[in-house]
């Protein structure tokens, strides 16, 4: 073993030892990238065993898996299964396995740990790495008309500016039905999203008005950012690109990327910058949660509440302008710290904003929860079974609404969150839309408290460090708790001042796979509010096709029809159409 023993146990050491004890000879190598991150290399055929053991046996959760073309470095492809250990010895254990570039195959972990499904599908799209035994081998990221032998993230595949000729003229994505009822009707929703006017294609399998199952296809707006970052930008400009991954929680991505590089390079970010990063992350949460609370009002038919939440949200936007100079895309992160300090007068103004927001939102929430429709529209709707949650590793208010209090800010405190007192991760046990909404309400209030604590606690000092040395091919994880859940970035820099590989995992990537389970057992009228309760983020669908499993008919609904039905729950848009 190449690792040196130190007197005190490092974070993750107990997990590494447990793997060694359970699977003798499985740990080929163990290296620490940062204080809380260890990567163990295992033989490829041991992959499913080790990941399953760490996931179910040691209290691990799986944010995602990163594939990397390491042929120019060591002659093979590599897979990194990222595991967030949240029971004993909290930290990150990354299981790495090399994949032979000739066979391009590895044993799929998905049958053992369902949370891997999207990552393994994506690894095939991007690299052509085939997971043996993967139950679902459909394309995930690439469009139907993409040529079948072109894998964009291979180092020798293509220039990022190239647009290949479409390989086929029709959509040929197959929607999978997992229900037992033999005759169902299909309801396509999309390709544009019913809550957020973003593209995604949903297929609801219904029997009358009841949803039996659902399948969906996303990535209509895949922008190829990882490829662009590798080829066009220098590594220190990627924070600005990461800011644009999401129009709502861009700063969370930007911080996660910066910290991935900082962790890898061993850069110590000045304390004041850590506080400022945490403050800005919470400012971002304020406006995002207010947006979602507004949407909940909208779906309950309480549009006055919607308008008022958005009126108040404007104050959160003003606060962002004050602190960063922009409403969104804060653009304040650099590798090594932040670009702007918070001045005394800004601090005072922020405290005033916080007080104002607290009073206004308390009053509005009181009104929302006392609205007759709120209870009936949200309680018991979109049930997310904690057992399903355990299998798929969802994040954010989605999982916290099912009684599982996972929150990166508290599980793996980073930045200013290390210094907070008296706060803990919020959770509710209802497993429904109502619980997820209440989690957001409480988190909003907590965010206000956090901002106050952080402003008071921030020590004076520099906000940016430039004292560090660039070492190529080092990699690490960076993570933040975005309003929708954890953002997890894995970055490795190259020998050309660029990212060698950057994998940005947005919160909702972890949440999409569980949506079909939340749909089941609800009615078509609930579909919009269920999707809305995820607060989904797809760079995001107006139409819905409904397919009746009994009559084998297909109807396309518009966003307005579906939303209207969600509010009224009478005058089904399906009526009179052979339903």
């Amino acid at each position: 073993m190449t690792t040196k023993r130190q007197t005190a146990l490092r974070v993750g050491e107990t997990h590494v030892q447990a793997v060694r004890d359970t699977f003798p000879g499985a740990v080929l190598d163990a290296t620490w990238q940062a204080a809380d991150q260890v990567t163990i290399t295992v033989p490829t055929d041991m992959l499913p065993d080790v990941v399953e053991f760490l996931y179910y046996g040691r209290g691990g959760w799986l944010p995602n898996m990163v594939a990397n073309d390491e042929r120019p470095i060591n002659g093979s492809y590599a897979l990194y299964y990222l595991l967030s250990m949240e029971e004993s010895d909290p930290g990150f254990v990354v299981v790495r396995a090399e994949v032979d570039p000739d066979s391009m195959e590895y044993p799929s972990v998905t049958p053992r740990v369902p949370a891997c499904v999207w990552s393994e599908r994506e690894a095939f799209d991007m690299f052509g790495l085939r997971a043996q035994g993967l139950p679902d081998e459909r394309r995930l990221v690439l469009p139907d008309d993409w040529p079948s032998n072109l894998y964009p993230l291979r180092k020798d595949a293509m220039d990022y500016r190239r647009r290949p000729e479409p390989a086929c003229a029709v959509e040929n994505y197959e929607f999978l039905y997992e229900g037992h009822a033999e005759e169902t009707t299909q309801v396509p929703m999309g390709p544009l999203h019913i809550t957020s006017d973003e593209p995604g294609h949903f297929r609801l399998f219904v029997e009358g008005e009841d949803i039996i199952d659902a399948d969906y296809r996303l990535f209509y707006v895949h922008r190829g950012m990882e490829k662009v970052a590798e080829s066009r930008l220098s590594y220190d400009a990627v924070t600005f690109l990461a800011d644009r991954i999401c129009g709502i929680c861009g700063n969370a991505h930007s911080v996660a990327y910066a910290e991935a590089v900082e962790n890898a390079q061993g850069i110590e970010v000045p304390l004041r910058a850590q506080y400022i990063r945490a403050i800005l992350l919470e400012v971002e949460r304020l406006h995002s949660h207010l947006l979602n609370l507004g949407l909940v009002c909208h779906y309950c038919g309480f549009d006055t509440g919607f308008q008022h939440f958005f009126r108040v949200r404007e104050k959160a936007m003003d606060l962002a302008v004050l602190l960063t100079g922009a409403r969104k895309t804060y653009g304040l992160n650099l590798i090594g710290g932040v670009r702007r300090d918070i001045l005394d007068e800004q601090k005072l103004a922020t405290i005033a904003y916080v007080q104002e927001l607290r009073n206004e939102v308390e009053a509005l929430v009181d009104m929302l929860t006392s609205t007759a429709n709120f209870e009936s529209r949200t309680a018991g709707i979109g049930y997310l079974d904690p057992a399903v949650a355990r299998d798929f590793s969802p994040v954010g208010p989605c999982v916290r609404g099912s009684g599982i209090a996972r929150d990166v800010r508290f599980d793996h405190p980073f930045d200013g969150y290390k210094f907070l007192v008296g706060l803990s991760a919020r959770s509710h046990n209802g497993c429904d839309v109502q619980s997820r909404t209440l989690v957001r309400v409480e988190e909003f209030m907590d965010s206000l408290t956090m901002i106050e604590q952080l402003l008071e606690g921030a020590p004076a000092g520099p906000v940016l460090t430039e004292k560090w040395q660039y070492t190529p091919h080092k990699f690490a994880l960076g993570y933040t708790e975005a309003p929708r859940g954890e953002d997890m970035h894995w970055a490795m820099v190259g020998d050309n001042q660029k990212c060698y590989r950057w994998r940005a995992k947005a919160a909702t990537y972890s949440n999409w796979p569980i949506l079909r389970y939340m749909f089941r057992g609800n009615t078509v009228a609930d579909a919009a509010i269920i999707v809305g309760s995820m607060d989904p983020c797809y760079s995001c669908t107006d139409r819905v096709t409904v397919v009746d499993v009994k009559k084998k008919t297909e109807t396309v609904l518009t966003k307005d029809q579906l939303e209207g039905y969600c509010r009224r729950r009478t005058h089904s848009p399906l009526a009179g159409k052979g339903w």
Partner: protein, 176 residues
């Protein structure tokens, strides 16, 4: 219900008069970058720092002019250019109404003369940058200013001079 009406009454009008009245942005707002072509020495620091490649610098065919160019269509208003500029020649303003009818109007550019090497005649740096270096060295004075006349030479010629001086020195030492 009564609470709601009270809240509506209390909140009053939430809208502002914009666009019929001007909208003031707070200090520190990152809007349109303004380039001061008089202060600019065409050193290119902003073009290197710009993450979006909105700012570019290009030489013309005979290398007599270097053109600084910004495309507001590409600009992401991050303000890196302002941070790296040694002469404060670029500054983000509060202006945010950048819509134009013609895409070409999103560009602004200005050209700077490039000086030629006093010895070999090859173009080597923007005239303003050389001039700036000269003024800085002169104001510092002393040892720093001893080689000030060499600013007229291109990098290759200066290297050749240095190499010759070194060779001469080495020979003298050997001879001594």
């Amino acid at each position: 219900m009564l609470k709601l009406f009270k809240e509506i009454r209390r909140a009053g009008d939430a809208t502002v008069g914009y666009p019929f009245q001007p909208l003031e942005m707070p200090a520190g707002f990152r809007g349109k970058p303004e380039h001061n072509e008089k202060l600019c020495i065409a050193c290119g620091a902003c073009a290197i720092a710009c993450p979006a490649n909105a700012i570019t610098m290009e030489l013309n065919a005979d290398q007599s002019l270097i053109t600084w160019d910004i495309s507001y269509g590409r600009c992401i208003f991050c303000g890196r250019c302002q941070e790296v500029c040694p002469l404060f020649a670029i500054k983000l303003t509060g202006e945010f109404e950048l819509a134009v009818k013609n895409k070409g109007d999103l560009r602004e550019s200005c050209s700077y003369a490039v000086v030629q090497c006093a010895r070999c005649g090859r173009p080597y740096a923007p005239a303003k940058e050389v001039d700036y270096a000269r003024r800085v060295l002169a104001s510092v004075g002393g040892v720093a200013a001893t080689d000030i006349e060499k600013l007229d030479l291109c990098l290759d010629c200066r290297r050749a001079d240095d190499a010759e001086a070194f060779q001469k020195q080495a020979r003298e030492r050997k001879g001594a």
